[in-house]
C-alpha cells in the first residue's frame, strides 16, 4: 500500500541575520493510510516546523513532500490553500474557533472555501455536529461552550472536508485530564474508522494512544518506534 505521507530529505532553514538556523535537517519519514502517529520531541526540536510543513502551511527549504501521491513541497500559495481546504484537517491546542460564528458555521468553513453550496454544507455540518455529540448546540457561539465541547467542534470541522490526514497539535493541552481522555477516545474511534491521524505532543499519555512515535531532536527524526503492530 502506498504511503499517504512521504517526506523525503526535508530541510527547513531560517535565516537569522548572518546565521542559518536549521529547524529540520533531512527528515525522511513515511506514514501509511490509517496510521495513528505521534510526533514528540523537546522544545525547539522542530515539531511545530514539521507540523506546519505537513499541514501545507509552510514549504520546506529543500526536499520532497508527497501527500496522497502528489508532490506538494513547492506549490504556490493558492495551490497550498486548496490542498489545505480539501486534504487536511487541523485540530489546534486552543481550538481556534471563530468567535462570531456559530457551531455549524465554524464546521462549515472548509466547505465554504471549497465552494460547497449552502444547503449541502449545512447538511454535512449538521451531521458532523451530531457525530461529535453537539446536535443540541448547533446555533451556539464558541464562548457558550466548554473547552471539551469547543475541541469537539474543532474535530467536526477537521472532518468536514473528509481529509487525507488529520493534524492535531497538542489537542488536549488546554483540557483537564477527564475531558482530554474524552477527546483522545474520539480520535481513537476515528482511527478505527480508517482516518490517518498525526498528533504533535510532549505528553507520553497522549502518545500512548498512537501506533507509532516519531521523536524529533535537533531537527532530525531520530527514534521511530512502533508501539502497536
Amino acid at each position: 500500500m502506498a504511503a499517504i505521507v512521504r517526506l523525503n530529505d526535508i530541510w527547513k532553514t531560517y535565516r537569522m541575520g548572518d546565521t542559518d538556523v536549521h529547524a529540520l535537517r533531512g527528515v525522511s519519514i513515511e506514514i501509511q493510510e490509517g496510521e495513528y502517529v505521534a510526533i514528540m520531541g523537546a522544545s525547539g526540536s522542530g515539531k511545530s516546523t514539521m507540523l506546519n510543513i505537513l499541514g501545507c502551511l509552510d514549504r520546506p527549504t529543500q526536499g520532497e513532500y508527497f501527500l496522497g501521491g502528489q508532490n506538494v513541497a513547492h506549490l504556490s500559495d493558492d495551490e497550498l490553500s486548496f490542498i489545505r481546504s480539501s486534504k487536511i484537517g487541523f485540530i489546534f491546542q486552543s481550538y481556534n474557533l471563530i468567535q462570531q460564528l456559530t457551531v455549524v458555521e465554524n464546521i462549515e468553513i472548509p466547505l465554504y472555501y471549497q465552494g460547497w453550496s449552502e444547503r449541502d454544507s449545512l447538511k454535512r455540518a449538521t451531521e458532523l455536529a451530531q457525530l461529535v455529540g453537539l446536535s443540541h448546540r448547533l446555533d451556539h457561539r464558541p464562548n457558550e461552550l466548554s473547552g471539551g465541547q469547543q475541541q469537539r467542534v474543532a474535530i467536526a470541522r477537521a472532518l468536514s472536508n473528509d481529509p487525507l490526514i488529520m493534524l492535531a497539535d497538542e489537542p488536549t493541552g488546554n483540557l483537564d485530564s477527564a475531558t482530554g481522555q474524552e477527546i483522545l477516545r474520539m480520535l481513537d474511534r476515528l482511527q478505527t474508522e480508517g482516518k490517518t491521524i498525526i498528533v504533535v505532543t510532549h505528553d507520553e499519555n497522549v502518545a500512548k494512544h498512537s501506533q507509532r512515535i516519531i521523536r524529533l531532536a535537533d531537527g532530525m527524526a531520530v527514534d521511530e518506534r512502533r508501539m502497536r503492530p
Binding site: 502551511l57 493558492d78 489545505r84 487541523f90 489546534f92 481556534n96 472555501y113 449552502e118
Partner: protein
Amino acid sequence: MIGFQAKRTFLLGVKSLWLHRLRSTLTVLGMILGVCSVIAMLAIGEGASHDAQEQMRQLGSTNIIIRSVKPPEDKTARQETSQVAQYGLTYDDVERITQTIPSVTVTVPARRVRKDVRNLSRTTDTFIVGTVPWFPRVMNRRVGEGRFLTGLDVRYKENVCVLEPHVALALFPFKDALGQAVKIGSDFYRVVGVMEALSTGKGGTSSARLDSDAGVYVPLSTFTAYLGEVLTTRSAGSYVRERIEINDAIVAVPAVEQVLDTATAVRATLERFHRKLDYEVIVPLEQLRAAEKVKRTYNIVLGSIAAISLLVGGVGIMNIMLASVTERTREIGIRRALGAKRRHIITQFLTETVLLSGFGGVVGVLIGVTIPWFVGRFAGMTTIVTLWSPLVAFSISVMVGVIFGIYPAQRAASMDPIEALRHE
C-alpha cells in the same frame, strides 16, 4: 472572484460589522456627512445656475441696456442750486445707434418718472414709463388684457396707458380696469391694457430690467408732452430739477454671437458724443458670463470641500478596517489554515468596507436630498436636486470604500498564516 458565494460573503460582512455596532456606526457617519455635502453642494450649485439662467431669460441675452446716469461731478455740485441739470441719453443717441450699427435691429427708448397715479380716492405711487409699441416684444412680456401702446398712440400723443397688474389691482380692486380712466399729475389717461404679471424666479427680478419697478406705461410722445422734459424730483429734502431726454433704452441684437461686438460699437458711438460719463451700458450677457465664472470658482471650492469630507470619511473607514484587521489576525490565520486563499480574505474585508461606505452612501443620499429642501425653505436659496447627483454621490462613496479598503484588505491577505495563528 468577487462573485464567490456573494450572498454568504455579504451576510458574513454584515455580521462582522454588527458585532461592532458603535464603531461601524461612527465610521458610517463620516461617510454620511461626505455624501450629504456632495449632494447639497450639487443642489445649491444647480440652483444658482438655474437662477442665473432665469435672469438671463428675463433680461434677454440678446439685449444691451443703456441708461442715463447722473455724471459724478453733478452729484455734489448742483444739489442745492435751482438750475436745471441736463445730462443723459438723447433721442439723437438712440437714433444714431439704430442707424449706424448694422447688427442693431430695434431700440426701445424709455423715460421714467415716479408719480402718484389716482383713481378717485385710490392712489398708488409708482414709476410711469414712457415708451414705444415694441417694448413688450423686446422685453419678452405679454399683455394680459386689452392691448399695448400702438404707433398711432405715439403719433397722436394719445392719453392712453397700460397698467402693470399690481397697479390695476390697487386702483380697481373691484372692477375691470380696462376702459377706465386714471389720473397722473393733472391729466387723465384711459386704460387700454393690463400686462400679464412678470414671472419672477426665486432669485428675484433683476433691477437692470426697465419694468422691474414700472407701474404704468404711456406713449413716449405723450410722456414728453404732458410730463415734460424737465423732471422735478425730491431728494434729500431739496428739489432737484433734471432735464433728461431718455432714461433708458434697450438695444436689441438678433443673435447672441453679435452681442459683445455690438456692445463695443454702442460704447464707441456714445463716447463720441458724450463728454461726461452720463450714461452706462449694461450688457446682461457680459454680466452673466462674469457671474458664471464666479459660480465656477464657487463650485470648485464647494466641490473640493465635499471631496475632502468624502476623503476624511474614507480615511476613517481605512483606519477602522486596519484596526479590525489587526484585531482579527487570529481569525485570518484560522481561515487561511482552513483553506482560504488570499483573494478570499481580500474579498471578505473589501466587502466590509464597501458595506460600510455603501450603507453610508444610501443614508447620506436619503439625508442629503432633504438638506437642499431645508436650505431652499429656510435660507431662501434656489436648490435643485438633479436625478444624477445622488447617483454620483453614491457611486463616489462606494468607490471611496473600495479604494480605502484595498490597503487594509491587502494587509490582511498578505499575513503569514503561521504568524497569524500564533497571534494572541
